[in-house]
Structures are given as C-alpha cells and as structure tokens.
C-alpha cells in the first residue's frame, strides 16, 4: 500500500509528518520523493546499502573542430538555447537546452554531441524502522518526475523483498511533474496544509490535480491554532470538495528540537498532544486505506 504525503505550498510540514508516520508503528518503506530538496535522511540517518546513477537527460555540446557555424541548429531549436554571438560563433546554453537531440540529428557536419547528465543519484538502505529509498537530483536538472518514478519502483521492490506492507512517499511541493509522479496510482493521498491564505490557494490547485487523477485524498491542517478562523475556512472548503480533514495538528516548536536531534516528534516525546494526534491520524489513514 502506497500513501503519498504532499502539499502545494512548501514548508507546511510534509517531511516532519512523514517522519512521524514512519516511526509510529510497523516497519515501513519510506521513499523521499522530494528529490529536489531531499531532507528525510537527516532524521533517519539511513545506512546506505545501494547507490544507482540516474541519467536525467542530455545536453547538446558543440564540437568546434567540426562546426562551421552555419546556424542551422539555431533555426531548429525551439528552446531558444542556441544563438550566434557577435563574433559569428554558434553557442548552446546549457541552462536552456532541453536535451531533445534535434540539433544533433539535423547538423550536416555531425558537430553536436549529446552528453548524458549523470550526476543525479538514487540511494537505498535501512533505517531504524524499516527501509528507505531516496533520490538526489543534481542542481539544475530537469525530469525530476522520472527520478521519482525510479525511487517509487525501488521502494516497491524493497517492500516486496522485505515483506513490508506500507510505503510512505514524502512528496515535493508544487503541482508539476515530480508531484504528479509522486501521487499517480497511489492508494491514498494525504495533503498537508496550514491555516494561511497562501496555503489555501495552493491547496485548491493541489486538489484540482488530485481530482484529475481520481485519487482518494484527505487533508491534514498543520499548525491549525495559528489562525483558527482560516483553519475553519479551510476545513469547510475541504469538506465541500471531497478531501475531508482527517486531523488537525497544533503548532509545536518542539518539532524543530526533535529535528535537531534527528528524531520525529513522536519519537522525541510520545506523550505530547501533537504526538497523540499524529498517532490517531496515522491509524485512521491506515484503516481507511485498507
């Protein structure tokens, strides 16, 4: 069973909540799908067991020994990545290149090479309550959704091999490719939000995406007591839109203290109100996902 934790807005507490869910009950596989800013390893200190190279795409690079600066590639490129300088030399911007290969195919001199971007990695290993898989996208690279898919495949394989039932996917912020790759085909989507106007606006967009893929979803309002009126508005909106609130969590600065000690809040102090609420919510999620 795969449970995805996402949020449109960043910083609402996805990873802290995922970390708690991962340490409350039976052994789990945790997959950190926020490959752009992977953080869960800081709490779990996983023992690295495997490492795999992830090729995110290719960059077009001109071989100037062969290039005649004819500029044909510039006319074909749809990403504005190729330009001719004042000196008549054709250059390709690594930042704008999408890696589509078209320039390398049409170049009459065969002067363009496609160089693979192979600096991204996927790691897997063990942590204190199960297994963990996480990706690290090298800066500036695209196609993070493909790396998320690779992380999820590995997580499923790991779960099968170790007889673990539950996979927790800690997702990225936003609603683009990596977020979509995190939620497609999962058994349940948990959206973490907070009582701010920005979070509500982002929640609406997230809900639209979840609806497009017809996924069963629910919402957690984190730090709900920071603005109870906004929290009530969000709750109402969620009920009307079929992503009912499964639980509300109070603001608790000890979440940060726990993080500093590489612990989830439920491990740091299981007696706290927030810890009890997290345990209740996790139980409900598991019951409803059966």
């Amino acid at each position: 069973m795969e449970i995805a934790i996402i949020s449109g807005k960043g910083g609402t507490g996805k990873s802290s909540i995922s970390a708690s869910f991962a340490t409350i009950g039976d052994r789990v596989v945790v997959a950190d799908c926020d490959v752009d800013a992977a953080n869960l390893y800081l709490i779990f200190n996983p023992l690295k067991e495997e490492e795999a190279v992830y090729v995110s795409g290719h960059d077009a690079v001109i071989n100037y020994d062969l290039c005649t600066n004819c500029g044909l590639c510039e006319t074909y490129c749809r990403f504005d990545a190729i330009s001719t300088g004042d000196d008549g030399i054709v250059i390709i911007s690594e930042i704008s290149c999408d890696g589509c290969f078209l320039c390398s195919r049409i170049c009459p001199e065969k002067a363009i090479d496609m160089i693979p971007n192979d600096k991204s990695r996927m790691y897997s290993g063990s942590f204190r309550n199960g297994k963990m898989v996480y990706g690290k996208l090298a800066p500036g690279e695209e196609n993070s959704g493909k790396l998320v898919n690779m992380v999820r495949e590995k997580a499923k394989e790991t779960a099968r091999e170790n007889n673990i039932d539950t996979i927790i996917l800690d997702g990225p912020p936003g609603i683009g490719c990596p977020a979509i790759s995190t939620i497609t085909g999962t058994d349940r989507v948990v959206i973490v939000t907070e009582p701010t106007l920005s979070a509500l606006l982002d929640l609406r967009r997230t809900a639209e995406v979840v609806r497009k893929f017809s996924l069963p979803a629910c919402t957690i309002i984190n730090k709900h007591d920071l603005n109870t009126e906004m929290s009530r508005q969000i709750e109402e909106w969620c009920e009307q839109n079929g992503i009912g609130v499964i639980g509300k969590l109070p603001f608790d600065s000890r979440i940060t203290e726990a993080m500093i000690e590489s612990k989830s809040i439920t491990e740091y102090n299981p007696q706290l109100d927030i810890s009890n609420k997290l345990k209740e919510i996790w139980k409900k999620i598991l019951d409803q996902s059966k």
Binding site: D36, Y76, F79, I106, S144, I175, A179, S198, L226, S253
Partner: protein, 292 residues
C-alpha cells in the same frame, strides 16, 4: 535596472514573504519597481496586493497531430522523440500522441518523411500582468493544473519584466532544479531565504553551491530566527557568505501574513531594514553588465 531574485531550496521558508514585503516598501517610497511571481506551480503574490489586471498572455507549446491517412507507421517519429510521447504499434496500425509527455521540440515533425505530422497549440498556462498603485507591474506566471513543467511559463513571464523599472524583484520557485535556475539566471543578485533548522541548512547548502557554480552573487536572510539552532549562522560565517538580515520568529508576524497582510504595512523599522538591504545590493551590484 537591477534584478534581484528571492529564492530558497526548501519550500515555506519565506521567499514570497520577503519578496512581497520588499516590493511593498519600494512602492511606498515611489521607487519604480516590478514584482515577478515565478513560482508558476503555486503563485500567491497577487493575493497580497490590490491590483488591477492589465493583460493576460496565454503560454502555449506545440504538440504533434498525426494524420493516419498519410502515416506509414515507419516509426521514425517515435525514434526521434526523446520524451516517449509517441506511442506506436506498427503491426496493428496504432499510433498516438501522449500530449502530457510532449515537450514541443518539433523533432517528430522533422522526422516524418510522409508529411503526416502537423502541429497544434497546447495551452500550458498564463502570464498575467497587473498594475499596483497604477504604475508598478506585478507579473504572475501561472501554470495550468495537470501540466508537467512550469519552465516555459516562467521564461515567458521573465520576458515581460522589460528594462524600464529601477528594481525588479523575482520571487523564485523552490528547489534547485530547472525552474529555479531559469529564474536566478536572470538575476544580478540572489537573496536566499532560509530557516535555522537542519532541513533549512541542508537545502541552503545545496542552493548556495548551485549559485557559486553559476557565478551569481548572493546573500542570505534567516527567517524565523530564534527557532532551531546556530548551525546556519556558523555555516555562513565559515563559508564567508553574507548574512543580510535575521527576521525573528513571531506569532504576530505569522498571524498577519496568514491573513494576506504584510508586516511592513505596520512595522516601519522592518521596512527600513529591507530598504537598506536593497540599497546595499544596488550599490554593489547595480551597474553590472549582466545582459542576460
């Protein structure tokens, strides 16, 4: 014009908070400014300002349309497509385009030798241009839901910044991948916003290293100071990265902001601190020859 991007690896550290407050004080002082919301997946900037919408530009890309009467199922378009957006089963004479995967590179059109591929526009999002207080533009990049990449929408929004305003504030998307790079690549200076927690530090490190390889000057604002520990400050000192400001964590600020209000509206000293930062950046980096 000087372009200042507000960025952070980690989401929710306060990028938009810093960008909107800076823009607000600049316009209060009648400095001609433009604010670009480049977080096209989750654009929120407009909710903080009462502005008037002036223009909307649709952002599109082209996707192929295959004429099955002309198609010979040779498979060359499929071979040319790097994104697996063309599905083909030659024995059963099945071919289709998976529009969501298409990047609009045009390779299939070039590949087809039978004139069977034409292209149609496919909407990705909008660039909305609004005016605040009559003369300060707010440019919003807004990707449609269900679209995979915000990059084209961001690029188009950046083109609308122009050169007229004195200061352009760019609210960047989170992360350090393509959407972030597209935004900061346009900037003369980058302000990284972080929080003093292990997650904040880990993501700050990654952003800082990325900006160093891009040769982009940057400084750091620590938001929600007081929570967490001193590791971020120690890291900045060790690396010689300038700490521009620490904004203490306050329930009052969080409460105001949660209702879509900006603290600079009521807190004059906070406004002055932000103005000083902008003045220093402009003095130090404003006359660069950055023509990007």
């Amino acid at each position: 014009m000087i372009k200042i991007a507000i960025a952070s690896g980690k989401g929710g550290t306060g990028k938009t908070f810093v960008a909107t407050n800076i823009f607000h004080v600049l316009t209060q002082k009648n400095v001609s400014s433009v604010l670009a919301d480049c977080d096209a997946e989750a654009p929120n900037v407009l909710s903080f300002f009462e502005s008037v919408r002036k223009e909307t530009h649709e952002v599109i890309q082209f996707v192929p349309v295959i004429d099955v009467n002309k198609c010979t199922y040779c498979g060359k378009c499929h071979e040319y497509c790097t994104y697996n957006a063309i599905f083909i089963l030659p024995p059963s004479k099945i071919i289709s385009v998976i529009e969501d995967l298409c990047h609009g590179c045009g390779a299939c059109t070039v590949a087809c030798e039978y004139d069977a591929i034409t292209e149609k526009p496919f909407p990705l999002g909008n660039v909305n241009i609004c005016l605040y207080k009559g003369s300060h533009p707010i440019i919003e990049a807004r990707m449609n839901t269900g679209i995979m990449s915000p990059v084209r929408v961001i690029k188009q929004a950046l083109r609308h910044i122009g050169h007229e305003a004195e200061i352009a504030v760019l609210d960047s998307p989170p992360g350090t991948s393509c959407p972030f790079i597209q935004t900061v690549n346009q900037a003369d200076y980058v302000i990284l916003v972080t929080e003093p927690t292990p997650f904040g530090l880990s993501d700050l490190r990654q952003s800082a290293e990325t900006l160093k390889t891009m040769n982009r000057p940057f400084g750091v604002i620590i938001n929600k100071a007081g929570m967490g520990n001193n590791d971020v400050r120690d890291y900045l000192a060790r690396e010689g990265i300038s700490l521009l400001l620490e904004i203490p964590y306050s329930k009052k600020i969080a409460g105001l902001y949660s209702r879509g209000r900006l603290p600079v509206e009521s807190d004059e000293s906070f406004g002055i601190q932000l103005l000083n930062i902008i003045e220093n950046i402009t003095a130090g980096y404003g006359n660069s020859n950055n023509k990007r």
